[in-house]
Symmetry: C2
Subunit: 410 residues, 2 copies
Amino acid sequence: MNDPALTASSHRRIRQSNEVAALRALHQFGRLSRAELARKLRLNRSSSGHIIASLTADGLVREAIEDSPEQPGYARVGRPGIMLELVPDAIFFLGVEIGVEHISTVEIDLGTNIVSTNVEPFDGPSISVEAAVDRAVNMALQSIPASKLERCEGFGVSTPAQMDKHGLVRLAPLLGWRNVHLAELVRNALPLRVPVLAENDANAFAIGATYGRSEVHSGVTLFLVMESGIGGGIIIDGSLFRGANGLAGEIGHLIISDAPGPRRNLEQLIGLENIMGEYRKTSTLDHPTFGNFLADVQDRLPSAVSIAEQWAKALAMGLVQACRIIDADQIVLGGSVAALYPLMAARVAAHIHATQESSFPVPSITVNDEGTVGSAFGAACMLHQRYLSLESQRFAGEAAELEEPEEDEG
Amino acid sequence: MNDPALTASSHRRIRQSNEVAALRALHQFGRLSRAELARKLRLNRSSSGHIIASLTADGLVREAIEDSPEQPGYARVGRPGIMLELVPDAIFFLGVEIGVEHISTVEIDLGTNIVSTNVEPFDGPSISVEAAVDRAVNMALQSIPASKLERCEGFGVSTPAQMDKHGLVRLAPLLGWRNVHLAELVRNALPLRVPVLAENDANAFAIGATYGRSEVHSGVTLFLVMESGIGGGIIIDGSLFRGANGLAGEIGHLIISDAPGPRRNLEQLIGLENIMGEYRKTSTLDHPTFGNFLADVQDRLPSAVSIAEQWAKALAMGLVQACRIIDADQIVLGGSVAALYPLMAARVAAHIHATQESSFPVPSITVNDEGTVGSAFGAACMLHQRYLSLESQRFAGEAAELEEPEEDEG
DNA sequence: GGTGTTTGTAGTTTAATGCAACATATTAAC
DNA sequence: GTTAATATGTTGCATTAAACTACAAACACC
């Protein structure tokens, strides 16, 4: 009932908030001295020292061994600071992606470095939620020695589903799930008591691709994951915009009716299925792959180029429509189909210019080539992000006493 | 260069933040006792007392005279609290809308009550920016006695233009402006040194329509202002989402190509011009008005109903497309054309259901009927909002010493 | 080697919240 | 009508964490 924005700060909260800010700064900038940290946080040098002392005592921060390659450029005058860094293996986070055809798991450390990954084929539609969760949890934990387990500080799940922010899945058409509390199931399946979050796979992908970059892009980034389906995620000023039902950015269902034929949505126009369907009609190969198609486009084979041209046009149309609503200044393409974009960038740009009114700014478009674990990595990052925030369970002692009953007055 | 999110809290900041939180709580809930406030802010009763004491000393808060109509419902036991309230006329804010055909001004007080308004016809396209600003400033100030002037704490401007968050106008096609620093011009034209903000008119309208409601809607609201042009604003969890260039929600430029004929955008399909253009073709009147059209629709005159039907279809299409991207759960229609919606609500709903896949949630649609000063009111609210925040100039003593030069390390 | 500059630390001060106790105002109960 | 119960507002004191001041240490430059 209380607005979180209204909550006041007590003394402990200040310290917590400052410790969190220090951890975030160290994560973002890599290495900082106490004095540099103090400047970034607008704190007094001595306060910075105190905060670092308590973080060091907790084992989260340490003084870096002096192997830093003597940062080039201008020489600094005065006593050099002692560089501080996060202790990467102080804690770790796990992320899993329960996909339609595979399950991926990722372990990341406090520095959001990928420690290990694991991908296994999986037949999503034929397996129950409970079994899928069991499988995913086991995969994620199998390589972790028991002694290390207690240093786990969070478990994230991503899956192609509409879900609310509490991890309650409304619908997962590709997996046949409906109204299952995924986060709850994972919590129960885990042999540990750690924070658990669940998120749509495209949203998780978007988080993973933007999280931990030293420059937080302050603007609007539209993230597109193009495989058979077209997923999308929106990042505003560095943090995920879920929308009212976690469906924000689901651009695949935009209706693009400029195309000839019956009304089709963007997914049906630029997804892998459509490309390969068209390509099979013209290819001379028995079992043409997307790689063959790319090669043909590169070789300027007219039939392939024509398919690619239709793709570029539909993509441009979709992006323009999306930008009219969210006014993105940055678009990042991911997924296997994104490999087509570099070949067609000029055509896409031409279609964008032709489609939208000239007074509108044109967003930058880039291709992101994470591996197949991007979504699982993003799920793990969500928990890293949470750990480096005031909702962190480091401060559970305070947070636990929330939710006391309270009467409202008319 | 510093992330604001990273900035640490010092002692003064705590008090500031708590005073701000107290003011916001009083604004949101109207009247609270010290003890109620303490609960809302999760503070100790005594701390709440201290904060109120200092706000009272500043003249911003007072104990309410006991004319409260004895709140009904359950009787409370124990000593009743002394109700506190904002002092409405402690300070005031001004908002102006520089429109294409009129200039509106609004004065609001600390309780966001409208104290006075003023609307004058205006021929935007034929007047220079400087002259328009002068005119607007003079209109806003004319009714304010000099003695009261120093209690002004902010001046907001709204205008149909693309502008960044600093009030730099990129383009205002309807007014013929390009690359003018509107906020700067207003600052210079004002005889006072007060915070000045400029915002797109649709965005300002959206702020005005949602600000100060006691229940902050935590979700996504899409706001449509339908006149000749179609403006739009998006409110996320109670605060405006501008997009990268302040163009978020400019849904009027969505391309709706399902409609017969050449490719047209939403504005051309559901704007006043199109409706009246079509209506004139069929109406028997010499100078038919929009009111005539509404009456004809209400009377089920086939020619008018057919126009309205096309309108409903295009509107539904636009809303569905927008919701695929921002996942709004609430849509608010404003502007004169919104009066058509109640007559066509069922048709719009039918088209929405026909257009979008059944698995997607359907947003609620409501009509907002603010007067013509909605946008100017919103501009004033922006400054009220700013005053009740940590960026407030009440704390300028601290904020002034920001922006010291700082070197980055590679 | 001296000077100047920046860093890290220790001791002291300041400010704001938390806590506990108490007077006060009202309802409920006898 | 008196007493008990309950919640409010206030007061003095304790606690906490950051700011401030001063100083020794480490390095660059002359």
